[in-house]
Symmetry: C2
Subunit: 146 residues, 2 copies
DNA sequence: GACCTTATTGATAACTTTTTTCATTAAGCT
DNA sequence: AGCTTAATGAAAAAAGTTATCAATAAGGTC
Protein backbone atom coordinates (compact mmCIF):
# COMPACT_ATOMS: atom_id res chain seq x y z
CA UNK A 1 0.00 0.00 0.00
CA UNK A 2 1.42 3.39 -0.99
CA UNK A 3 1.86 6.12 1.56
CA UNK A 4 -0.75 8.15 -0.27
CA UNK A 5 -3.24 5.39 0.39
CA UNK A 6 -2.22 5.10 4.01
CA UNK A 7 -2.97 8.78 4.46
CA UNK A 8 -6.29 8.60 2.63
CA UNK A 9 -7.52 5.47 4.32
CA UNK A 10 -6.85 7.00 7.70
CA UNK A 11 -8.84 10.06 6.83
CA UNK A 12 -5.92 12.38 6.11
CA UNK A 13 -5.43 14.45 3.00
CA UNK A 14 -2.52 14.06 0.62
CA UNK A 15 -1.38 17.66 0.89
CA UNK A 16 1.58 19.43 -0.65
CA UNK A 17 3.79 19.57 2.44
CA UNK A 18 3.18 15.93 3.27
CA UNK A 19 4.06 14.99 -0.29
CA UNK A 20 7.23 17.09 -0.28
CA UNK A 21 8.46 15.66 3.01
CA UNK A 22 7.68 12.08 2.06
CA UNK A 23 9.27 12.36 -1.37
CA UNK A 24 12.39 13.97 0.05
CA UNK A 25 12.85 11.30 2.68
CA UNK A 26 12.26 8.57 0.12
CA UNK A 27 15.00 10.01 -2.07
CA UNK A 28 17.49 10.49 0.78
CA UNK A 29 18.92 7.54 2.62
CA UNK A 30 20.47 9.64 5.38
CA UNK A 31 18.29 10.61 8.32
CA UNK A 32 17.26 14.25 8.29
CA UNK A 33 16.20 16.59 11.06
CA UNK A 34 13.10 18.77 10.67
CA UNK A 35 15.30 21.78 10.00
CA UNK A 36 17.35 19.99 7.36
CA UNK A 37 14.17 18.87 5.65
CA UNK A 38 12.82 22.39 5.72
CA UNK A 39 15.99 23.85 4.24
CA UNK A 40 16.34 21.20 1.56
CA UNK A 41 12.75 21.68 0.43
CA UNK A 42 13.01 25.46 0.48
CA UNK A 43 16.13 25.39 -1.64
CA UNK A 44 14.60 23.02 -4.16
CA UNK A 45 11.81 25.47 -4.82
CA UNK A 46 9.17 24.07 -2.52
CA UNK A 47 8.59 26.89 -0.11
CA UNK A 48 6.66 25.63 2.86
CA UNK A 49 6.45 26.58 6.51
CA UNK A 50 8.72 24.77 8.90
CA UNK A 51 5.68 24.22 11.06
CA UNK A 52 4.26 22.03 8.34
CA UNK A 53 7.42 19.97 8.38
CA UNK A 54 6.97 19.28 12.07
CA UNK A 55 3.32 18.46 11.62
CA UNK A 56 3.92 16.27 8.59
CA UNK A 57 6.64 14.34 10.40
CA UNK A 58 4.48 13.85 13.46
CA UNK A 59 1.67 12.41 11.38
CA UNK A 60 3.85 10.33 9.10
CA UNK A 61 5.64 8.88 12.12
CA UNK A 62 2.34 8.04 13.77
CA UNK A 63 1.27 6.19 10.64
CA UNK A 64 4.58 4.35 10.47
CA UNK A 65 5.55 5.92 7.15
CA UNK A 66 8.70 7.49 8.52
CA UNK A 67 10.75 6.65 11.57
CA UNK A 68 13.44 8.02 13.81
CA UNK A 69 17.03 6.96 13.53
CA UNK A 70 19.39 7.68 16.40
CA UNK A 71 23.02 8.47 15.83
CA UNK A 72 25.60 7.22 18.29
CA UNK A 73 26.21 10.80 19.39
CA UNK A 74 22.60 11.19 20.50
CA UNK A 75 21.37 13.23 17.57
CA UNK A 76 18.49 11.86 15.59
CA UNK A 77 16.74 12.23 12.28
CA UNK A 78 13.90 10.84 10.22
CA UNK A 79 14.04 8.37 7.36
CA UNK A 80 11.31 6.92 5.19
CA UNK A 81 10.26 3.68 6.79
CA UNK A 82 9.03 0.83 4.66
CA UNK A 83 6.29 0.15 7.18
CA UNK A 84 6.04 -2.92 9.34
CA UNK A 85 8.61 -3.92 11.89
CA UNK A 86 12.16 -3.25 10.85
CA UNK A 87 15.46 -1.82 12.06
CA UNK A 88 18.19 0.33 10.63
CA UNK A 89 21.88 0.01 10.10
CA UNK A 90 23.63 3.36 9.89
CA UNK A 91 26.92 4.18 8.23
CA UNK A 92 29.20 6.01 10.65
CA UNK A 93 30.91 7.71 7.74
CA UNK A 94 28.18 8.90 5.36
CA UNK A 95 25.25 8.39 7.75
CA UNK A 96 23.25 6.48 5.21
CA UNK A 97 20.63 4.32 6.89
CA UNK A 98 19.49 1.01 5.44
CA UNK A 99 16.59 -0.97 6.80
CA UNK A 100 16.84 -4.60 7.69
CA UNK A 101 13.98 -6.85 8.63
CA UNK A 102 13.40 -9.59 11.08
CA UNK A 103 13.72 -9.94 14.77
CA UNK A 104 13.43 -13.67 15.26
CA UNK A 105 17.14 -13.46 15.97
CA UNK A 106 16.27 -11.49 19.06
CA UNK A 107 13.80 -13.91 20.58
CA UNK A 108 16.35 -15.93 22.50
CA UNK A 109 17.93 -12.77 23.87
CA UNK A 110 14.51 -11.46 24.83
CA UNK A 111 13.64 -14.72 26.57
CA UNK A 112 16.88 -14.64 28.51
CA UNK A 113 16.34 -11.05 29.62
CA UNK A 114 12.74 -11.76 30.56
CA UNK A 115 13.94 -14.59 32.76
CA UNK A 116 16.69 -12.48 34.29
CA UNK A 117 14.67 -9.36 34.94
CA UNK A 118 11.10 -10.70 35.22
CA UNK A 119 10.00 -8.00 32.81
CA UNK A 120 7.41 -8.78 30.14
CA UNK A 121 9.02 -7.57 26.95
CA UNK A 122 6.68 -6.22 24.29
CA UNK A 123 8.82 -4.05 22.07
CA UNK A 124 12.38 -3.14 21.26
CA UNK A 125 14.67 -0.64 19.64
CA UNK A 126 17.62 -1.94 17.70
CA UNK A 127 20.08 -0.14 15.48
CA UNK A 128 23.42 -1.20 14.11
CA UNK A 129 26.31 1.12 13.33
CA UNK A 130 29.10 0.44 10.92
CA UNK A 131 30.58 1.31 7.56
CA UNK A 132 28.62 0.91 4.35
CA UNK A 133 30.11 -0.82 1.27
CA UNK A 134 30.74 2.47 -0.58
CA UNK A 135 32.54 4.02 2.35
CA UNK A 136 34.58 0.88 2.92
CA UNK A 137 35.86 1.25 -0.62
CA UNK A 138 36.37 5.00 -0.35
CA UNK A 139 38.24 4.66 2.91
CA UNK A 140 40.43 1.86 1.55
CA UNK A 141 41.30 3.94 -1.50
CA UNK A 142 42.17 6.89 0.71
CA UNK A 143 44.64 4.76 2.64
CA UNK A 144 46.28 3.54 -0.54
CA UNK A 145 47.00 7.07 -1.66
CA UNK A 146 49.23 7.70 1.33
CA UNK B 1 36.36 1.61 40.12
CA UNK B 2 34.09 4.25 41.59
CA UNK B 3 32.90 7.16 39.50
CA UNK B 4 34.89 9.47 41.73
CA UNK B 5 38.02 7.63 40.72
CA UNK B 6 37.07 7.70 37.07
CA UNK B 7 36.81 11.46 37.28
CA UNK B 8 40.07 11.86 39.16
CA UNK B 9 42.07 9.50 37.02
CA UNK B 10 40.98 11.36 33.93
CA UNK B 11 42.10 14.65 35.40
CA UNK B 12 38.68 15.97 36.35
CA UNK B 13 37.67 17.25 39.76
CA UNK B 14 34.98 15.71 41.91
CA UNK B 15 32.94 18.86 42.19
CA UNK B 16 29.61 19.51 43.90
CA UNK B 17 27.42 19.56 40.81
CA UNK B 18 29.00 16.41 39.41
CA UNK B 19 28.44 14.67 42.74
CA UNK B 20 24.82 15.82 42.95
CA UNK B 21 23.98 14.70 39.44
CA UNK B 22 25.71 11.36 39.81
CA UNK B 23 24.13 10.61 43.18
CA UNK B 24 20.69 11.55 41.94
CA UNK B 25 20.92 9.34 38.89
CA UNK B 26 22.25 6.48 40.99
CA UNK B 27 19.24 6.74 43.29
CA UNK B 28 16.69 7.03 40.49
CA UNK B 29 16.07 4.14 38.15
CA UNK B 30 14.00 6.20 35.73
CA UNK B 31 15.80 8.18 33.04
CA UNK B 32 15.82 11.90 33.70
CA UNK B 33 16.17 14.86 31.38
CA UNK B 34 18.58 17.70 32.21
CA UNK B 35 15.66 19.86 33.31
CA UNK B 36 14.21 17.16 35.56
CA UNK B 37 17.60 16.67 37.16
CA UNK B 38 17.95 20.39 37.71
CA UNK B 39 14.52 20.67 39.31
CA UNK B 40 14.93 17.62 41.51
CA UNK B 41 18.27 18.84 42.82
CA UNK B 42 17.01 22.38 43.39
CA UNK B 43 14.03 21.10 45.35
CA UNK B 44 16.18 18.87 47.50
CA UNK B 45 18.21 21.84 48.64
CA UNK B 46 21.09 21.57 46.23
CA UNK B 47 20.86 24.79 44.31
CA UNK B 48 23.02 24.61 41.25
CA UNK B 49 22.89 26.19 37.82
CA UNK B 50 21.21 24.26 35.06
CA UNK B 51 24.27 24.95 32.97
CA UNK B 52 26.26 22.77 35.33
CA UNK B 53 23.76 19.98 34.85
CA UNK B 54 24.35 20.07 31.11
CA UNK B 55 28.09 20.18 31.56
CA UNK B 56 28.13 17.43 34.16
CA UNK B 57 26.00 15.18 31.97
CA UNK B 58 28.18 15.81 28.95
CA UNK B 59 31.29 14.85 30.87
CA UNK B 60 29.77 11.91 32.70
CA UNK B 61 28.41 10.56 29.42
CA UNK B 62 31.78 10.91 27.78
CA UNK B 63 33.35 8.93 30.60
CA UNK B 64 30.65 6.27 30.33
CA UNK B 65 29.34 6.94 33.83
CA UNK B 66 25.86 7.82 32.62
CA UNK B 67 24.07 6.97 29.43
CA UNK B 68 21.09 7.92 27.34
CA UNK B 69 17.91 5.91 27.35
CA UNK B 70 15.39 6.44 24.58
CA UNK B 71 11.69 6.13 25.17
CA UNK B 72 9.47 4.66 22.48
CA UNK B 73 7.90 8.10 22.00
CA UNK B 74 11.25 9.57 21.02
CA UNK B 75 11.95 11.36 24.29
CA UNK B 76 15.15 10.52 26.08
CA UNK B 77 16.82 10.78 29.45
CA UNK B 78 19.96 9.89 31.34
CA UNK B 79 20.51 7.02 33.74
CA UNK B 80 23.56 6.01 35.73
CA UNK B 81 25.39 3.51 33.60
CA UNK B 82 27.34 0.72 35.20
CA UNK B 83 30.13 1.25 32.74
CA UNK B 84 31.17 -1.21 30.10
CA UNK B 85 28.90 -2.41 27.34
CA UNK B 86 25.34 -2.92 28.41
CA UNK B 87 21.76 -2.26 27.37
CA UNK B 88 18.57 -1.18 29.07
CA UNK B 89 15.12 -2.56 29.43
CA UNK B 90 12.56 0.13 30.14
CA UNK B 91 9.17 -0.26 31.83
CA UNK B 92 6.46 1.28 29.68
CA UNK B 93 4.41 1.95 32.79
CA UNK B 94 6.78 3.41 35.40
CA UNK B 95 9.68 4.11 33.03
CA UNK B 96 12.17 2.40 35.28
CA UNK B 97 15.24 1.34 33.34
CA UNK B 98 17.24 -1.75 34.24
CA UNK B 99 20.54 -2.62 32.65
CA UNK B 100 21.24 -6.00 31.18
CA UNK B 101 24.56 -7.21 29.92
CA UNK B 102 25.77 -9.26 27.05
CA UNK B 103 25.50 -9.02 23.35
CA UNK B 104 26.78 -12.40 22.25
CA UNK B 105 23.13 -13.09 21.53
CA UNK B 106 23.39 -10.48 18.81
CA UNK B 107 26.36 -11.88 16.97
CA UNK B 108 24.38 -14.17 14.70
CA UNK B 109 22.01 -11.36 13.84
CA UNK B 110 24.92 -9.04 13.16
CA UNK B 111 26.57 -11.62 10.93
CA UNK B 112 23.39 -12.10 8.98
CA UNK B 113 22.93 -8.35 8.48
CA UNK B 114 26.58 -7.91 7.48
CA UNK B 115 26.10 -10.55 4.83
CA UNK B 116 22.85 -9.03 3.63
CA UNK B 117 23.95 -5.41 3.56
CA UNK B 118 27.74 -5.71 3.10
CA UNK B 119 28.17 -3.24 5.96
CA UNK B 120 30.93 -3.73 8.51
CA UNK B 121 29.14 -3.56 11.84
CA UNK B 122 31.11 -2.08 14.72
CA UNK B 123 28.53 -0.97 17.25
CA UNK B 124 24.87 -1.19 18.11
CA UNK B 125 22.04 0.34 20.09
CA UNK B 126 19.59 -2.01 21.73
CA UNK B 127 16.78 -1.33 24.15
CA UNK B 128 13.88 -3.46 25.25
CA UNK B 129 10.50 -2.15 26.31
CA UNK B 130 8.02 -3.93 28.51
CA UNK B 131 6.42 -4.08 31.92
CA UNK B 132 8.47 -4.46 35.07
CA UNK B 133 7.57 -7.00 37.79
CA UNK B 134 6.12 -4.36 40.13
CA UNK B 135 3.91 -2.87 37.45
CA UNK B 136 2.78 -6.31 36.32
CA UNK B 137 1.49 -6.89 39.81
CA UNK B 138 0.00 -3.43 40.17
CA UNK B 139 -1.77 -3.69 36.84
CA UNK B 140 -3.10 -7.15 37.63
CA UNK B 141 -4.45 -5.92 40.97
CA UNK B 142 -6.12 -2.98 39.28
CA UNK B 143 -7.95 -5.32 36.93
CA UNK B 144 -9.20 -7.49 39.81
CA UNK B 145 -10.79 -4.51 41.47
CA UNK B 146 -13.15 -3.93 38.56
C1' DG C 1 45.90 23.94 58.08
C1' DA C 2 46.63 28.04 55.13
C1' DC C 3 47.91 29.21 50.44
C1' DC C 4 48.04 29.01 45.51
C1' DT C 5 46.78 27.59 40.86
C1' DT C 6 43.46 26.76 37.73
C1' DA C 7 39.48 23.88 36.62
C1' DT C 8 34.76 24.53 37.38
C1' DT C 9 30.76 27.03 38.45
C1' DG C 10 26.72 30.30 38.09
C1' DA C 11 24.25 34.19 36.05
C1' DT C 12 23.14 36.38 31.96
C1' DA C 13 22.44 36.50 27.40
C1' DA C 14 22.38 34.59 22.89
C1' DC C 15 20.82 31.11 20.13
C1' DT C 16 18.33 27.08 18.41
C1' DT C 17 14.51 24.17 18.32
C1' DT C 18 9.67 23.17 19.09
C1' DT C 19 4.87 24.39 20.03
C1' DT C 20 0.80 27.41 19.99
C1' DT C 21 -2.49 30.46 17.82
C1' DC C 22 -5.53 31.90 14.31
C1' DA C 23 -6.79 33.75 9.93
C1' DT C 24 -6.16 32.00 5.17
C1' DT C 25 -5.81 28.32 1.81
C1' DA C 26 -6.70 24.20 -0.68
C1' DA C 27 -7.93 18.91 -0.66
C1' DG C 28 -11.43 16.07 -1.72
C1' DC C 29 -16.33 15.25 -1.75
C1' DT C 30 -21.01 16.35 -3.93
C1' DA D 1 -17.78 24.41 -10.10
C1' DG D 2 -18.97 24.89 -5.32
C1' DC D 3 -18.82 23.58 -0.47
C1' DT D 4 -16.92 21.91 3.84
C1' DT D 5 -13.39 21.53 6.73
C1' DA D 6 -8.76 19.68 7.26
C1' DA D 7 -4.44 21.60 6.68
C1' DT D 8 -1.26 25.40 5.98
C1' DG D 9 1.69 29.57 6.91
C1' DA D 10 3.26 33.50 9.59
C1' DA D 11 4.15 35.32 13.84
C1' DA D 12 4.76 34.88 18.49
C1' DA D 13 5.51 32.27 22.55
C1' DA D 14 7.69 28.66 24.89
C1' DA D 15 11.14 25.32 25.68
C1' DG D 16 15.66 23.62 25.41
C1' DT D 17 20.69 24.26 24.63
C1' DT D 18 25.06 26.71 24.19
C1' DA D 19 28.45 30.66 24.85
C1' DT D 20 30.67 34.19 27.77
C1' DC D 21 33.14 35.67 31.63
C1' DA D 22 33.87 37.11 36.34
C1' DA D 23 33.66 34.61 40.80
C1' DT D 24 34.30 30.33 43.30
C1' DA D 25 36.17 26.13 45.09
C1' DA D 26 38.82 21.55 44.25
C1' DG D 27 43.04 19.59 45.01
C1' DG D 28 47.86 19.97 45.21
C1' DT D 29 51.93 22.30 47.79
C1' DC D 30 54.31 24.22 51.55
Amino acid sequence: MSWQNVLSENGYRVSGPRRYVMQLLESNAQPMTPLEIYQALSESGRPLGIVSVYRALELLAELGLVCMVYNPDGSAGYVAGAGGHHHHIVCQNCHRAIAFAGSEDLSSLIQRVEKETKFHVSDHLLQLYGICPDCQKALADAVEEN
